[in-house]
């Protein structure tokens, strides 16, 4: 790694670290504000979460309010949370009383497992279809991938998930329909997400590979006498990566943020699942920590994408140098 390269990496890390701090502050305050705006008395909701809906009365709600200091002013509560955040103390869940770190860590693991497997599957299915379609633009496989994109994009994930359950669990009995923990229970939710995503990836891969194989430098590589395989490995893949990596980054972020429906459908315990329940039970510490982790994950993905593109493509991104 050359000196300038190291400087560029440092610049990326510094910028993204700054962003992470800013995002953490904004998300925390926003979460807090949103929870205060929710209708209903938070003390009653928390009490219902702890003792069950039937056992809640004014006394238990008052006990919760006094215990958690919910009658303090909003500024005081926000200030306490931010100070705790600085000390990396996320507190305990208002409902389960377990440490928030353990709680959120458990859900984070679920989300990461699901995202990684879904993204991996989508890249394999979509990337393969895209590369094959690009070998013969306008051919039957190309038309098939176009139809595939339209089909899977038109299917909402819950419907796709139900169809997969029907086929793979109910009829063929290959996989468990719902659950969390075993590796086989991961397959269905991951497959649901991956199928929906694979169409888009196939399309973008196909367009990118077609464009690159028609580019001047790939043609020149061929007339230099390189075999097709060398042309693909040395020139096409790397240049395709420059386009595809940022796109996959965006898709990874969407996967992490937007899997609530699929997690609920398959009872998979991830961050989306945790977020919904925390909102429902007014479990503010869990809610804030979950939102914070989601926001930081996006920053982390962007950092990885930045570094990957920096490694793939040496061209400067500032206009100044090109003029």
């Amino acid at each position: 790694m050359s000196g300038t390269q190291r400087q560029l990496v440092a610049a990326v890390l510094l910028r993204r670290a700054g962003q992470a701090v800013g995002v953490a502050l904004v998300v925390s305050v926003l979460c807090f504000a949103v929870v205060r705006q929710l209708p209903g008395d938070a003390a009653y909701r928390i009490a219902a979460g702890r003792y069950g809906d039937d056992l809640v009365d004014a006394d238990s709600a008052a006990a919760v309010r006094a215990e958690l200091g919910l009658d303090r002013s909003a500024w005081q509560q926000l200030g306490d949370w931010l100070v705790d955040l600085l000390r990396l103390d996320f507190g305990r869940s208002l409902v389960t009383s377990r440490p928030v770190v353990a709680e959120v860590g458990y859900y984070l693991l679920g989300t990461l497992q699901l995202t990684a497997v879904a993204l991996g599957l989508a890249i394999v299915i979509g990337g393969l279809a895209g590369v094959l379609a690009a070998r013969c633009p306008g051919g039957w496989l190309d038309h098939m991938t176009t139809a595939w994109v339209a089909l899977v994009r038109a299917l909402p994930p819950f419907l796709l998930g139900l169809l997969l359950i029907l086929v793979l669990s109910v009829h063929l009995g290959l996989l468990p329909a719902v659950g969390h923990g075993s590796s086989s229970s991961l397959v269905l939710p991951a497959l649901t997400l991956a199928v929906g995503l694979s169409g888009l990836i196939a399309r973008v891969t196909r367009d990118t590979v077609v464009e690159i194989t028609r580019s001047e430098h790939v043609r020149f590589a061929r007339t230099k006498g390189l075999t097709e395989r060398l042309v693909l490995a040395r020139h096409a893949l790397r240049n395709a990566g420059v386009v595809l990596v940022p796109y996959l980054g965006v898709q990874a972020a969407i996967l992490i943020e937007g899997v609530v429906v699929v997690e609920s459908l398959f009872a998979w315990q991830g961050l989306g699942h945790a977020l919904v329940h925390a909102v429902f039970w007014r479990d503010v510490p869990v809610l804030q920590a979950t939102a914070l982790v989601l926001a930081l994950l996006v920053v982390a993905i962007n950092t990885v994408v930045d570094l990957a593109v920096l490694g793939l493509d040496p061209r400067p991104r500032k206009r100044e140098v090109l003029a």
Binding site: E216, H217, R219, F220, A221, R222, G225, P314
Partner: protein
């Protein structure tokens, strides 16, 4: 002695013949150069020989190399010769290099035995680059190279496989004279060491330097052939005569710069653009400093110099399209409101690619309240049929599109036009036509010109005021 022969070579699109050539032979030790304007079919001929021609075109004919015959209709039968026997130096070397790979690796991958002995190939690439005075650039990325350097890197990459037959396709686009001479030396050396060379170009200077046999192509056929020095000094065919006369040093027009003081400019007039002590650097590289100049109404200025010295940057500063590091640029009221126009090097990039030309023009007419009928009358003056307007920019030839850009600029009755290498990508005849259109319009309207070019002859022919930027930071002002 090697010999390459082409017989009954034809390229067709439907019923139209794009190339129709009875026989061409290339001997080792003698360069073969094909000249002609864009669209004459000369590039198609090169790609038909190589086997890289687009699949939509039908090819006929045979090629024989040292007695072995190849059917040109079969694109694939020469593929195993690529890089070993047959090499192609592509147009636009800057685009032919992979932007994500270091120069040395791109050169090395063409070396024989690259797959099994990578170290040896890399060493050989470094040797080759060293011989081309590019040893320092071995680990550079392509975007850091100048046009001339990129051309020599591409040459190294194309020839490292040891191919005897080298086909060079329009190598001069956008190259300045010094880089061109260096390339000519490399090609001459290839011929001198027994190689076979076919050069496709519209640059007569290069054709003259290469010598050997010259073919003049027009509308798919060869109209004249013979030794280069004979054809270029005493052309026989009408078309060749016009081609030779199209070099800027031989132009004959009323608007040419005269050695006498120019009549249009009034030294007492207030300057349209006044620049004082301009300086600009990019990173650690200082382009220029202490440049002061004043452009008065009707004056014609040329900024000349090799590529990469900051000519375009200086022009943009004068138009206030960029900010100088030091110094000031003042504009007179006469150039306010779009009366200061720029013509770009690549007209295809200066028109929106997916908008019909008629819509692109109509937007300008509406925005600036141009009187109706002005587009049509200007197009008629510049010899452009109105039907062109119904096409997309990509469906119009480069020369026509640049003339449309002139129409677009002149719509606003500018007081100053900045022509940034506006004709350097066009062939000689098209360049002559385009410059004639531009200069006639400028003369008619008394508009001033700021011309950026690396072509000294063009600058001399057109401008009364010259500013040369050289590698040295300090400019040389020539009155």
């Amino acid at each position: 002695m090697s010999l390459l022969e082409l017989r009954d070579l034809a390229v067709r699109h439907g019923d139209t013949a794009l190339v129709d050539v009875a026989d061409i032979s290339v001997k080792s030790g003698q360069a073969l150069t094909i000249v002609g304007e864009s669209g004459s079919g000369k590039s198609l001929l090169a790609h038909a020989v190589m086997g890289t021609i687009t699949t939509g075109l039908a090819v006929e004919g045979t090629m024989s190399l040292d007695g072995v015959h190849y059917d040109l209709a079969d694109r694939a039968n020469r593929k195993h010769h690529w890089g070993r026997e047959l090499a192609l130096l592509p147009q636009e070397p800057a685009l032919a290099l992979d932007p994500t790979m270091r120069v040395r690796d791109q050169v090395a991958e063409g070396a024989p035995g690259f797959r099994s002995r990578r170290k040896a190939a890399l060493r050989r690439a470094e040797d080759t680059l060293g011989r081309l005075n590019l040893g320092h650039a071995a680990r550079a990325w392509p975007h850091t190279l100048s046009g001339g350097m990129a051309q020599r890197v591409a040459y190294a990459a194309a020839t490292i496989g040891g191919a005897r037959v080298l086909i060079v396709d329009e190598p001069t686009k956008g190259l300045d004279r010094d880089s061109l001479d260096q390339l000519a030396d490399l090609l001459t050396e290839h011929v001198a060491t027994g190689g076979l060379l076919i050069t496709i170009t519209h640059d007569l200077h290069l054709a003259r330097k290469l010598g050997g046999e010259l073919l003049v192509m027009r509308d798919a056929i060869i109209v004249e052939r013979g030794p280069a020095d004979r054809v270029l000094t005493t052309p026989e065919h009408d078309y060749t005569r016009r081609l030779v006369a199209a070099e800027p040093s031989r132009w004959q027009y009323e608007w040419l710069a005269s050695p006498l003081a120019d009549a249009t400019a009034d030294p007492a007039a207030e300057p349209l653009v006044a620049a004082e002590k301009l300086a600009k650097s990019y990173g650690d590289t200082e382009l220029f400093r202490d440049i002061s100049l004043e452009i008065r109404p009707g004056e014609r200025w040329a900024l000349a110099g090799p590529s990469g010295v900051g000519k375009t940057t200086l022009g943009n500063l004068l138009l206030r399209l960029g900010a100088p590091d030091e110094g000031t640029v003042r504009h007179h009221n006469a150039v306010a409101g779009g009366r200061l126009q720029k013509l770009y090097q690549d007209p295809a990039l200066s028109f929106p690619a997916r908008v019909r030309l008629t819509d692109a023009m109509r937007d300008i007419v509406r925005r600036h309240g141009v009187p109706p009928g002005r587009v049509e009358s200007l197009m008629a003056t510049l010899g452009l049929p109105e039907s062109l307007l119904h096409r997309l920019p990509g469906q119009v030839s480069g020369g026509e599109l640049q003339r449309l850009a002139i129409v677009r600029a002149m719509l606003l009755e500018p007081a100053l036009v900045f022509a940034d290498e506006a004709t350097s990508r066009l062939d000689l005849l098209t360049q002559e036509r385009t410059m004639d259109c531009l200069m006639s319009e400028l003369t008619r309207t008394g508009c001033a010109l700021l011309l950026v070019t690396h072509d000294r002859e063009l600058a001399t022919a057109v401008a009364d005021h010259h500013l040369r930027l050289d590698q040295a930071v300090h400019p040389v002002a020539v009155p």
